[in-house]
Amino acid sequence: MAKNIFSTNQKHPLGKRRCTFCTNQIEYIDYKDLPTLKHFVDGFKRIKNHYYTGVCLQHQKQVSNAVKRARFIGLMKFTS
């Protein structure tokens, strides 16, 4: 998945943000997809709130699930 999708999201004001996964018609978020997941993680490796990611609730749930799976299997850190 392209890096640009997530960088553009924060330029829009809060009211006009659209879910990036809905606009690109992505149904399943993979826990192996580390380049995308890193955008949804804090500097301290905590999962970002959907208020800041601009993702809809359905996809935010999938994202958090994917991050937790990646953490468990040793692909991502719990903290830094």
């Binding site: 149904e27 399943y28 993979d30 826990y31 192996k32 997809d33 580390l34 380049p35 799976r69 953490r71 468990f72 299997i73 040793g74 692909l75 991502m76 850190k77 719990f78």
Partner: protein
């Protein structure tokens, strides 16, 4: 009671759906290639003997772990995609849990329209700019420190300003030298040649 449980087991066996699953596990990094390939071959046979159809077998190889697991910093990652009856999953999990050469495993069920993808990781970012800035600061600090060490001799401001003064003096001297040469030529030319 026994009859009831047997009936229940039979019913579960009949009803068990075949679902797609993904399995990822981490092997110990000390294992040789021949050893872990043989192990994976055996495991694949174990899967296929119990009515599972393996669609993807991806060996990532050795890569660093994000944190230490069972006192290991690296691990050999392996991914399997297969379709299996749901009542068989518990058996596989037990098999993997008991195995001492497996650090950790993760079994998840997949959606129906899933295609296996390989994701490329970006290379690590190098912070070259910050490294250049640091020594500059240190040099400045050292200079200030040296100045503080030799303060008592006079009220004038010390070593830092001296090079600037030297530059100014050099600039001033150059025109002086030229003038001096001209004057000397005049004086000498007037005196010596006539003599």
């Amino acid at each position: 009671m026994a009859k009831k449980t047997k009936n229940a087991e039979a019913a579960v066996a009949v009803e068990a759906e075949r679902k797609p699953y993904e399995l990822m596990f981490i092997l110990k990094p000390d294992m040789l290639e021949t050893a872990y390939k043989k192990k994976l071959k055996d495991f694949k046979e174990f899967l296929e003997n119990s009515k599972a159809v393996v669609s993807v077998e991806d060996i990532w190889g050795k890569r660093p772990l994000a944190y230490r697991i069972k006192q290991k910093d690296d691990g050999i990652y392996v991914v399997y995609n297969f379709v299996a009856p749901a009542n068989f999953i518990h058996e596989i999990n037990e098999h993997l849990r008991i195995d001492t050469e497996i650090l950790r495993h993760l079994m998840i069920s997949l959606p129906k329209n899933y295609a296996y993808n390989v994701f490329k990781e970006e290379p690590m970012e190098e912070k070259a700019v910050k490294k250049e800035k640091k020594p500059f600061k240190r040099e400045r600090r050292i200079e200030e420190h040296d100045v503080r060490k030799t303060p008592d001799s006079s009220g004038e401001k010390p070593v830092k300003i001296e090079p600037k003064k030297e530059d100014v003096s050099e600039e001033k001297r150059k025109p002086d030298k030229a003038n001096l040469d001209e004057k000397l030529d005049k004086l000498l030319g007037g005196g010596d040649l006539n003599m």
